[in-house]
Amino acid sequence: MSEVRSPRVHPSFLIHAAAALVMVSALNYMIANYVPFSIRKIEQSYLIFYYHFPAALSCLVFFTIVLVASIAVLRTGSPAWDRRARAAGEVGLLTCSVTVATGSTWASAAWNTWWDWSDARLMSAAIMWLTYAGYVLLQNQVEDSLKRRRFAAIFGILAYINIPLVHYAVEWFGKSSHPETFDDLGSDPSISQTRWFGVLAFFTLYLLLYRWRLARQDSKERLDTVLARVRGIEEGDSA
């Protein structure tokens, strides 16, 4: 059983974690001291935007990774791509949760409602959340690993097709109060600098989580292989 290694944290993982910590702390410092404390109309509540926007963008990135990895799984049947799809699905679901939660909190402060059923972006995000929750459930519910890999990949593609359809459906047949452009946020350069630094900082953090899930997936599969082999030996002994 030469492939069983004691779990050791890769040095690059520690560096990554340190970078994420420093960047998110720096972002918090910038939000507290650098950007305008309040802007017109929505006042201080806009500050949550620096957490909301990176999460929303990361969520789209991770779901795109799910799509690309799913296509790769179907083309090559590779377990490595399946692990990537699986980890990206989980982290995508998490960032989607952050997006919906921060969006809802913001809506409560700015528009005085926790949940605006007619808002296109909020509804798209919520339905995206439900779809990918199903994806993660599917990944966990199928026992046969060959089947699981293929079924999850198929649904990973269907779920992605659904995103633009939902977006247009809610936009066309509902009304939206969500800011469509960033002009409303004012023209102070510190705002746009902090926004993009926030994207970088949070993406570093989410990428760390992704790597962690990927590593965990990897060791879990290796453990399953070993267990299956041990079981095989035991059955061989008893026979």
């Binding site: 179907l74 519910q141 198929i154 593609i157 269907l158 097709i161 047949f173």
Partner: protein
Amino acid sequence: MNALRAFGALVRWECVRELRRGETVVSMVLFALVTLFVLSFAIDPSTETAVKAQPGILWTVFLLAGTIGIERSFGREGEERVLEGLLLSPVGRTTIYYARLASTWIFVAAMETVVLVAFLVLYNVRTDLATVAIVLLAAWVGTLGFVAVGVTLAAMTRSIRGGDVLLRLLLLPLLIPFFKAVVSLTTQALRGFEIGSREIAMIAAFDLVYIAAGQILFQLVVADFDG
């Protein structure tokens, strides 16, 4: 045997089976009626709110009842190994997919037709025949995409433990765009407004996207029969 004849034979076989036993359509219709009654207690049908909610109520019932038909499109694992039998037969997978799509569509469309009549009576909807025809046509056309994606997912979830719940969890979020469009269209029809082009565009896009995706992905669902 060419594909078209195989397709015809498969659809006919399913319809004959259904005519003899009537299980799927009858269960769907009864389930739809029960849901209509439950909803009538949730929203009093005699109020103004219920009149506004009518298209939504109708389509909620169609979708929930329709998933029963979709779930049964391949029989149950272990109980009736319909899909396995079909895959062993000398018929192309695309043909199998379209035949299943067609037969399931016929059953769901039949349920919708019956339930629509019951709905008009129970909810006391006063309207003309042309409006009913528009709503029915929208239901039939829209159900194509609904069934197309449903059949693909059903072929997948039938072999999974707890797959019946999973099917609904995976399917319903995918139906939201279609649901939104078709409810909007039904509202316009029942209120006598002109039908919006965006509604028609969305339903058409939904149909085309999911029939195409379903055809390709169905092949991949049943791919392990190759080896």
